[in-house]
Symmetry: C2
Subunit: 213 residues, 2 copies
Amino acid sequence: MSTVPTATISRLVTYLRILTQLEAQGIKKTSSEHLADEAQVSAFQVRKDLAYFGRFGTRGAGYTVPTLRRELRRILGLTRSWSAAIVGMGRLGEAIAHYPNFGAYDFLLKGAFDIDPHKVGREVAGLTVQHVDELPRVVREKGIDIGFITVPHEAAQDAADALVRAGVKGILNFAPTVIDVPKEIHVEPVDFLAGLKRLSFYILNPQLREEVA
Amino acid sequence: MSTVPTATISRLVTYLRILTQLEAQGIKKTSSEHLADEAQVSAFQVRKDLAYFGRFGTRGAGYTVPTLRRELRRILGLTRSWSAAIVGMGRLGEAIAHYPNFGAYDFLLKGAFDIDPHKVGREVAGLTVQHVDELPRVVREKGIDIGFITVPHEAAQDAADALVRAGVKGILNFAPTVIDVPKEIHVEPVDFLAGLKRLSFYILNPQLREEVA
């Protein structure tokens, strides 16, 4: 298998969310057309995205909701649990720590870190905030895979360096800056200012928006 | 001009961020190669993305940082100010309202809304939380362009409907669900659970990650 477009992975995540909603509604069968409608893409795109990973439906009969959902969960690595730690326990870190849907996919928050002595020792969402110096030990002892960066942008690279040294495998970066990490570490940016800037472009240029094919 | 790929708009936002950092460092000239390095794409991609909007550099001489930065701000609609309102004043809404970089691009937060009587009337980041019923009046009186949805996912569609009825032009949706809006309203999802799921895929399948060309 060669590489898979990043956009395909993003769409698989969307299809999984739609399938989860269908299953919660007791709906047993669906189609690429229905998934496409809900995900605001074309049915051709849905079939192409799934084809990277095998054959899932039956021509003319569509997909069985629980089966396709299970397969997507497996493909995305969501049938196992992941342990995460947050670096940066300001308001954003606190909001993320309390995020109610966080445990729904077996993402387990096992550590909360800061360098501010006023924050270290506080209890947040059932965790005691620890000093960033404790990261390597905690990552090793608790088997933490993923680090969340919720520090201000000027501290983001230091937070990334600390997470990489401590041995995490991936980073979810909420700071609005590109962080530099070794090639083998995957970074997913969550940058809401970037979303805002795209929004302003599309409000001013609605005619330039890609049409759903 | 035909449509512009969504991914191009996302990359323009990244290039702008890099140019802003260069300008802050007093650096006057840059190149597609440098922008590409920083944005983790190819130099060809940088040139192609910019070419949708005109000719900006000089072959061999690269780009003038302040000029390209000003052009990208203009293209993205960031030379004017945008007014925004938040619907959902739980922890996430509060964290967003306090986001320190929020004003850096003239995004002005002019309203904070909730339906919870315990939240209505509270002061958050200099705003008094109002009931969602007040949205149409406030959107009209304050010229609000953009709505942020920070409610739980089961309330997201109601929040979207209220924002659309009130007359916003675009929505930044933090709730982990697809919302249904009229075609002329642009929605940017900010879904950090989606980022987490992509992260788990790439941690398990590093060989399937798209290479930077």
